[in-house]
């Protein structure tokens, strides 16, 4: 038989996380700091709204773009929380932010277009660009400046074929964020080279000690930014698969066409759930979000303090729910550390190189798990590190 598999699909690498997962899932008593989703259950009112929508028989497709009241509430949400204009007519409600990333890349990439991907970052960007026919180009970020994208690093990564920049802040896996000043510093480079920004802001609600700044809120950037976000992290709704993408009109047209043909619409019950999440949050000042963030913040401080105290230098992450300590001082790579820690002490952390070469000497630890688990995991890690010396 001839080879049926598409060469692009064949060429993409399987996720480095997956490999690790198989080992962990068979291990008893393992504590996992490898989880990339909130450990909270979706707030009850949101779950209830979905149940009600099903009971009432709202089981048909919605409009392709998604329920208008949901898109209007997203518009209000983005404007009130982050000062970004997200007109409902240019919003597409997606199957998680993941679909938004895929749509944006497919709408933008032509064969050979270079798309800049700051590293370390979320595992899907690279294959996403490749599947869309583009060429991903890593922009290595370093811990010394909190894994932000600097104008210098950006400038030197640009070639005449560079078309767009993925901006993944607050960042998975580093927890790094970019402040308004840091974003303003890269804007001249973006404008000079006429780049599009694909801003993945799924962790926007999870920042500590300052509100998230969207690049789309900064002068001149709205018309060159595709903004992707969703409900998974802020409202603990990962399993609902519900997010959104808002793009400038021309790109939105392309995004909408792809979504229309490939997905039809995001799951109806999930849309009603998301709508409830927003409405309730407007009426109670986002109390569910605030209380989750407070809880994460406690754990975040606990984890940063812990890693620095055992000699694994850990810059202070100001976003998401990950810490990204370095294992360089221990003389091992992240992968070696993660493997032997798992075998010796049954604690799962994710090797940093799963998120790109720039993470080689780091491991990602998620603190989206109970304090009791973190307490136990950190004691085990402390024991392991002590034995290394």
């Amino acid at each position: 038989m001839r080879k049926f598999v598409n060469s692009r699909a064949e060429s993409i690498k399987p996720s480095g996380i997956r490999k690790f997962f198989d080992i962990v899932s068979e291990m008893k008593d393992a504590i996992s700091l490898g989880v990339g989703e909130p450990d909270f259950v979706t707030p009850w009112n949101i779950r209830n709204a979905a149940v009600k929508s099903i009971q009432r028989g709202y089981t048909q497709y919605t409009s392709n773009r998604g329920l208008l009241p949901l898109r209007e509430n997203i518009e209000r949400y983005m404007s009130e929380r982050f000062g970004v204009s997200c007109p409902a007519e240019h919003t597409v409600v997606t199957v998680g932010a993941s679909e938004g990333i895929d749509l944006a890349l497919r709408a933008v990439c032509d064969i050979g277009d270079e798309i800049l991907v700051p590293e370390p970052s979320y595992v899907s960007y690279y294959p996403g660009v490749q599947l869309a026919g583009g060429t991903p180009v890593a922009v290595k970020c370093v811990k010394e400046n909190g894994f932000i994208l600097t104008p210098e690093r950006l400038e030197e990564s640009i070639t005449p074929r560079t078309k767009a920049l993925i901006l993944p802040y607050p960042n998975n896996p580093t927890g790094g964020i970019m402040t308004k000043e840091q974003l303003e510093a890269i804007i001249p480079v973006i404008e000079k080279h006429d780049l599009l920004v694909i801003s993945d802001e799924i962790y926007a609600e999870l920042t500590y000690g300052g509100t998230h700044v969207s690049i789309a809120a900064l002068k001149g950037m709205r018309e060159r930014t595709v903004l992707i976000s969703g409900f998974s992290k802020a409202f603990a709704m990962t399993g609902w698969r519900i997010g959104f993408v808002n793009a400038p009109p021309e790109i939105d047209d392309a995004i909408f066409k792809i979504h229309q043909y490939v997905i039809m619409c995001a799951p109806t019950a999930s849309q009603y759930a998301a709508l409830e999440g927003l409405k309730e949050s407007f009426s109670d000042g986002f109390s569910a979000v605030e209380s989750m963030r407070d809880e994460y913040n406690k754990r975040r401080r606990f984890m940063v303090d812990f890693f620095n105290s055992v000699g694994m230098s850990c810059f202070e992450p100001r976003g998401a729910f990950y810490v990204f300590p370095s294992v360089e001082e221990l003389g091992v790579t992240g992968e070696q550390f993660a493997n032997s820690l798992l075998r010796a002490e049954k604690v799962a952390v994710v090797p940093g190189d799963a998120f790109g070469e720039a993470g080689k000497y780091h491991v990602r630890c998620s603190y989206a798990t109970s304090m009791a688990n973190l307490d136990e995991a950190t004691s085990r890690i402390a024991k392991y590190v002590k034995n290394l010396h």
Partner: protein, 164 residues
């Protein structure tokens, strides 16, 4: 109550073994500030006691626990407090609350056997002058105790252990 105090209480209610040093890290305060706040909470009787939550079902020596609904005649001068005190002074009584609704006092007691509990109710509780009536409910199984699910195996195992 100050935010620091409510934050500390939340942590201690989760696990009272956290040291002030660890709590200080979590809340971005100094150890001294946390110690002072805890001492204040103790002095004011907000923190009553540090204790362990025991699931008696897991113990081999069986005990019997019951909730007794007690209706009483309130007294003119001190309302329910005097009769409540008479009741909560009994060693068998583990908890005693004044309730709104169909009865007045909710009394949780623990005894070695059914007979033990029955004797307490008939001989000691019902014979008090101000007790009008009692209704005894034996506790059959505890699913959740003080905010904690009793079954150790009942963790939400739906989450995958490693994800992007």
């Amino acid at each position: 109550m100050k935010k620091l105090e409510t934050d500390i209480l939340k942590i201690l209610e989760e696990d009272c073994r956290y040291t002030p040093a660890k709590i200080a890290v979590m809340l971005d305060k100094t150890e001294e500030e946390v110690c002072a706040a805890i001492e204040g909470l103790e002095a004011r009787g907000v923190i009553v006691k540090y204790t362990a939550i025991v699931n008696g079902e897991r113990l081999s020596d069986e005990t019997v626990q019951a909730l007794i609904e007690v209706k009483v005649t309130p007294q003119k001068t001190n309302g329910f407090d005097a009769i409540a005190e008479e009741i909560y002074r009994f060693e068998e009584v583990k908890s005693c609350y004044l309730m709104s609704g169909g009865y007045d006092l909710a009394v949780f007691i623990e005894g070695k056997s059914l007979r033990d509990v029955a004797r307490f109710v008939t001989e000691r509780l019902s014979t008090l002058d101000d007790v009008l009536s009692t209704a005894t409910h034996f506790i059959l199984k505890k699913y959740k105790i003080e905010g904690t699910i009793a079954d150790k195996n009942d963790v939400n195992n739906m989450r995958l252990s490693v994800q992007p």
